[in-house]
Amino acid sequence: MRNLRTLPAKIIVVVLLVIVVYPLVWLLLGSFKTQDEFLNDPAWSLPHHWQFSNYTDAWTTGQLSTYLRNSVIAVFPALAFIVLFGTAAGFALEVMVWRGRNAVLLVFLIGIMVPGQMILLPLFTTYFQIGLTGSLWPLIITYTAIGLPLTVFMMASYFRAVPREIFEAAVLDGASMIRAFFTVGFPLVRNAVFTVALVQFFFLWNDLLIALTFTNSSDLRTIQVGLLNFTGQFGQTQYGPLFAAICINVFGALALYLVLNQKIMKGLAGGAVKG
């Protein structure tokens, strides 16, 4: 009985894994092929002589280094603001006691649902009028705001699980509430902060809509916008460098994910049960 049930299960698992992994393997092999091999050999053939220069081409001629730098400059400051502001707001909404805090939490919740398209046009006009267009500031500011609703909501629900007595004890020992937040509250929800930051990182790093709207010159392109315009840069599609660029993107994200895997899985499971 047991064996009968495991054979189909094994086949299903193998098929699933092939579907997930094969496109990635094909991508990796492709990144070492020459243009000639791309156009004349069958799609599943292996590269004959491994052309590593595809990677240097993508990095320099393809300006991947510029795009990567822009992404880092736009995403990490926004991430820091999101975590600091969002955790403080979650603390104020859940640990502090005051009238109207549920209403404020609800106002933040609305932000999760609103599509980005609904705020793009006024923001574009405003950034244009105050002269921020032409820098990465529009991205940093917009990313911070877009990341806040979910962060505030999640941090509030994490603080709900922390007994309020802990903070009362800190206050009785003479700390101010602000100090209690930084020395007691923040370290207590450290794991949650990490999870939220990770989710927001992937969300912002992979963003296309905001980046496409506010990066009007090619020096400002983030990695996603740069990748989207990669084909155009060489005129005719240069498959090798394009595949190398996709590879850097894909396997970079994958490496980061593998390193932090345990924490994401734990965080996701924890968040889902609470939500």
Binding site: R5, A9, V13, L16, L17, V20, P23, W26, F38, P42, A43, L84, F85, G86, A88, A89, F91, M96, V97, W98, V107, F108, G111, I112, M113, V114, Q117, M118, I119, L120, L121, P122, L123, T125, Q129, T144, A145, I146, L148, R164, E168, V171, M177, I178, W205, N206, D207, L208, T213, T237, I246, N249, V250, L254, Y257, M265, A269, A272, V273, G275
Partner: protein
């Protein structure tokens, strides 16, 4: 203690920055955008009042209608498929693979973290016909079929987008629903099985009702994401061929930034927001009715 926990200055210092940024960059723009819908023009030319012209145009615009139709079709089909497939994966993890599912879960979760643009370019080459035949067409040739121009036909392109998004998201819904399923006590299912319940009846009458709350959050999450689809479509087909795969989001973007019609763009954005709101309320309502009935 109440005085300390309710201290206005402290609350303001902690909540202030988040509330300020959120209000200035999200809340106010939502209302300004609402206002734009009654004007014509853009950031450079300035705005002129046109009353309800934009809405009247929206009502008669065949492009808007086809974008609306694409958005709804895509959201409903993809939500059904990705929650369904995710649920299948979750059942596989919990009841078939049991303890040994960690590695499989991790591998199937891989595509979730990959940048959409990169994945879309990968799929574009995977399904390509010219100048280079992608693996899919090579495989079709191998089976004796002729190559298919997947991006030259609206229906084919639609299914390639769906397939790609399924590939990207199934692992996520698998893990999300898995978290809901592992909470079902093993003894409960064991005793039902001992009393002779078939696997089908077990799933239909115990597992599905017990995992309803997490299934519901998955559906709401999915419908909200799929109604706002943008990256996948822009990077994979850019709305084409023609406008066959243009959702409302992309149509709004083109109208606003390619044609500089902010007013009309804002009215499309407003329609999209209303649809997201209606779907969320509708799912909440129907779920509540289900709970009270049972």
């Amino acid at each position: 203690m109440e005085r300390v926990l309710g201290d206005k200055k402290t609350i303001l210092m902690l909540l202030g920055p988040a509330l300020l940024v959120y209000t200035a960059v999200m809340l106010i723009p939502v209302f300004v955008s609402l206002g734009y819908a009654f004007f014509d023009g853009n950031a450079i030319t300035g705005f002129t009042w046109t009353g309800t012209d934009n809405f009247r145009r929206l009502f008669h615009d065949p492009d808007a209608r086809s974008a609306l139709w694409f958005t709804l079709k895509y959201a409903i089909i993809l939500t059904t498929l990705q929650v369904g497939l995710g649920y299948g994966l979750a059942l596989l993890y919990v009841f078939v693979l049991k303890r040994g599912s960690a590695l499989v879960r991790t591998l199937i979760f891989f595509p979730v973290v990959l940048p959409t643009v990169a994945v879309a370019l990968l799929f574009q080459k995977f399904f390509e016909i010219a100048p280079q035949e992608g693996p899919v067409n090579s495989f079709l040739n191998l089976l004796g079929g002729s190559s298919v121009d997947f991006f030259g036909n609206g229906t084919h392109a639609f299914w390639v987008i769906i397939l790609m998004d399924l590939w990207r998201s199934a692992g996520f819904y698998g893990v999300l629903l898995y978290a809901g399923l592992v909470d079902i006590p093993e003894e409960m299912l064991e005793s039902a099985r001992l009393e002779g319940a078939s696997t089908y009846r077990l799933v239909r009458h115990m597992i599905i009702p017990l995992s309803m709350p997490v299934l519901l959050s998955a559906v709401i999450f999915s419908i909200n994401g799929t109604l706002k689809v943008f990256d996948s479509v822009v990077a994979l087909t850019n709305g084409g061929p023609g406008n066959a795969t243009t959702p409302l989001t992309v149509y709004m973007f083109q109208t606003s930034f390619s044609y500089g019609q902010y007013g009309y763009g804002a009215s499309i954005a407003l329609m999209l927001t209303m649809i997201c709101l209606l779907f969320t309320i509708f799912i909440f309502r129907s779920a509540r009715r289900d709970v009270t009935e049972s």
